[in-house]
Amino acid sequence: MLATIGVGSIDELFRDIPAGVRFEGALDLEPPLSEQEIVAHLEALAAKNVDSGQELSFLGAGIYDHYVPAVVDAVLQRGEFLTAYTPYQPEMSQGVLQAIFEYQTAICELTGMDVSNASGYDGTTVAADACYVAKHATGRARVVLAETLNPQVRQVVKTYAPGFGLEVVEVPHRNGVTDPDELAAAAVDAACVIFQQPNFFGCLEPAPDLAAAANQAGALPIAHVDPVSLGVLEAPGAYGCALAIGEGQGAGNYQSYGGPHYGFIAARSDYVRRMPGRIVGETTDVDGRRAYVLTLQTREQHIRREKATSNITTNQTLLALAGLAHLSWLGPQGLREQGETCMALAAYAKERLGLPELFPNQATFKEFAIRVGRPAEEAIRVAREQGVHPGYALKRDYSGMEDALLVCLTEKRTSSDIDRLAEALAA
């Protein structure tokens, strides 16, 4: 090969690199491992983690231990899906393109919207994306966030805001939910309002009233929703929202210490040209055959460059495909039953635990906040000694919640699990 190239050694191939920037010697890294040594090393690291197979966990707060069916694994293991690139050459990638089109359809069905993209990075960055859409759609420079919106989502929006030239304002919660009149006042001159349903505390927000308040003020209402709840809770598109966003993990992805998962963003058709990221559209080929292709690419960075709707390129396609496989496995009946089961378990847990609720008399979905009568981290430590993780310490994000725990019930829990939780908290 060197002869064909016309050089005498591999070193000559790097002759254009100036001597001053050549790295001499070897990288200071540990020596290479054989395959079995890699497995042994990674197994040893994994063994130092306490995962939800080893501890009865009621942790939620944005990432959920929902059941992932075996068909999802089967789909993710197909080497073609795993190792394909972005489908820029449609003739080679009808499989991925059609799957993304089906995913887009599923997200639109869940959220009641007209257009979805092929995925965003996660449930936090899609909120920043949505603010960018709203800014350009309204020409306004302020965004309003409910305080009951996931704290990490708010933090990410605030990180992106200066570069976008946006001011961020928060509306505080009132007994665990958002007051539509307060939201209306804050929404004057705002580009958008983002609220969460169910919210970070697990409470059901008066979502249609919040959307109406935003619309009255000329701000785009944006709902951050839990896909698992959309078999029992109304779709944002049905109550006046302009965009719907969220974290897809609960529908088809393992917890995986926080990632990779998939964010979703969907909008009414008015906003299709402002949507960030990839969109797959339907068309025909020269023989009239139905075909799928990346479309409206002029929005994207590779064409519009500095005026693109986003810089996003690589997104979360494989995880979104897992979401599609999961939703296909569930079906509309399954999704509704799953939502009902979570609600039933949560209601039973509230009663069985008998501990004061942080927000009494609020309707909730699969999570709720309780007061444990001592610092939350204490309760967690004691419970974990009995093999139970009782939930998330809300004081990590909110002041005045020293003794509050956010408890999550997914369909993987049973009533005897709840009995164990009660005992662990009573200890």
Partner: protein, 497 residues
């Protein structure tokens, strides 16, 4: 092939759930779902068949040679899939107490150390979700750095060969964009650069080797120009596969570097993601890194949230952890032999270049790095065959085409990156195919114009797709696009521009 929705039959389902006999609380009427979402109603056998068929209509690295320039389509070792699925990683909640997540924290910390060594820069954040997000994070760091120093700097300079994400990131970070030209040798035009850099310049965004596959011979001078003006240099790590252990971005003079874990470090591309875009920075930028930081405390590892100067958070939790597991396992298979990975990548690219440069046009006659750019301009002028036609015809040989029409400064561009995991015989097969296509451009052009011949579909009507914008299945209202006329004229890809 039917859509999964077209295979739905009312009442069918794949899922089984444990029975619930507890009472279900009532949802207030105004919040309740009125009409169920029209998800597929389909049993498991058909679900499996559907996705299996879809996968057979998809071409991956597992299927064949995939020389997409700037994408680094290298083989994804299967052992990485085994370890990422260990329950200790897969089923770990990100809010688990730190003492219950020591394995995850240690893995991240070790990966940070490795990336620091490869970059030649001491401080690392794994948080950004992809290269684009790494770029945006890097620009946010620059803003924070200059704000902290009380300096107002408005402009970022980007090469005219830059990937579109660079200018898009510049806008999202609230900076103004300026473009510097490339000279006849494929290096940044240093004279042009000198005129542009002033006290309002925040920094440079550059890939080295560039998207032309060429190492910038003046990189030391370029770095000096920016540093003398008090500005910073950002390294787009998309092309790092060429220089691991051979030249480190920190030593080249860059202050911020992003890695593409889904390129250099073998996170599988997944049809468009996930990826990972961690960044490494110089000491003086460390205080601004995203929060939390993963730190070592004696024998233990923990998350440090006490970072008063942080830019904040760019993504949830610590980043795409599953991607870290794969990249970490990948790198542990190499250790210091990452250098050999780069050497073979560069060898393979130069070999293909040598075999192809006479049949096609080579805009910059230099040794290339891990990728190279050819032009099909002569084929277009003499036979009306474009880079697009070459790409479509390659599909008939069971190869994925290279990147086409990028970088923008080369007309009818074909960007080819073989990577180090391809054996010589595959490279020769590909070269033979490319040479035959060049001959067919003269002798049998209609064969190329009508390619591909044996894929699931033939060339698609992108004009109709853009105009009609059918972006979801519309159930009973779904149009039959076959009944709508195609574009009256044959579409050509980007003309000139």
């Amino acid at each position: 092939m039917k859509l999964i929705y077209e295979k739905s039959q009312e009442g069918r389902r794949a899922s089984t759930l444990p029975p619930n006999d507890l009472p279900v609380p009532e949802i207030p009427q105004e919040l309740r779902r009125e009409r169920p979402p029209r998800l597929p109603e389909i049993a498991e056998p058909e679900v499996v068949r559907h996705f299996t068929r879809l996968s057979t209509r998809t071409f991956g690295i597992d299927t064949g040679f995939y020389p997409l320039g700037s994408c680094t389509m290298k083989h994804n070792p299967r052992v990485n899939e085994r370890v990422v699925n260990l329950p200790g990683f897969r089923d770990l909640h990100p809010l688990q107490e730190e003492e219950g997540a020591q394995g995850a924290l240690e893995l991240m910390w070790r990966l940070q150390q490795i990336l620091a060594e490869v970059a030649g820069l001491p401080a690392v954040s794994l948080q950004p979700a992809a290269g684009s997000q790494g770029e945006l994070t890097g620009l946010m760091l620059m803003r924070a750095y200059f704000a902290d120093r009380g300096e107002e700097r408005r402009k970022i300079i980007v090469a005219d060969t830059a990937h579109g994400t660079n200018p898009a990131s510049v806008t999202m970070a609230g900076y103004e964009l300026e473009k510097v030209e490339t000279d006849a040798r494929g290096n940044i035009d240093v004279a042009h650069l000198r005129e542009m850099v002033d006290e309002e310049t925040a920094g440079l965004m550059l890939t080295n080797p560039s998207t032309l596959g060429l190492f910038d011979e003046h990189i030391e001078e370029i770095a000096a120009i920016f540093h003398e003006a008090g500005a910073l240099l950002y390294y787009d790590g998309a092309n790092l596969n060429a220089v691991c252990g051979i030249s480190r971005p920190g030593d080249m003079g860059f202050d911020i570097v992003h890695f593409n874990l889904h390129k250099t470090f073998s996170q599988p591309h997944g049809g468009g993601g996930p990826g990972g875009g961690p960044i490494a920075v110089r000491e003086r930028l460390e205080p601004f890194l995203p929060v939390p930081a993963v730190v070592r405390d004696g024998e233990a590892f923990r998350l440090d949230y006490d970072r008063p100067k942080t830019i904040g958070k760019v993504r949830g939790f610590c980043g795409p952890f599953g991607v870290f597991v794969r990249s970490y396992a990948y790198i542990r298979a190499y250790g210091p032999r990452l250098r050999e990975m780069s050497e073979v990548a560069v060898l393979n690219a130069n070999y293909l270049l040598a075999r192809l440069k006479d049949a096609y046009e080579l805009p910059f006659d230099r040794i290339c790095m891990h990728e190279f750019v050819l032009s099909a301009r002569r084929l277009k002028r003499e036979h009306g065959i474009t880079a697009l036609d070459v790409a479509k015809r390659l599909m008939d040989y069971d190869f994925h085409p290279p990147t086409v029409y990028f970088p923008l400064i080369v007309p009818e561009a074909l960007m080819i990156e073989p990577t180090e995991t391809e054996p010589k015989e595959i490279l020769d097969e590909f070269a033979d195919a490319m040479l035959e296509i060049a001959r067919d451009a003269a002798e049998r052009p209609e064969l190329l114009k009508e390619a591909p011949h044996n894929r699931a579909v033939r060339r698609v009507d992108e004009v109709k797709a853009a105009k009609r914008a059918v972006v979801r299945y519309l159930f009973e209202d779904h149009p039959d696009l076959a009944e709508e006329p195609s574009a009256a004229r044959e579409l050509e890809a980007q003309k000139g521009a």
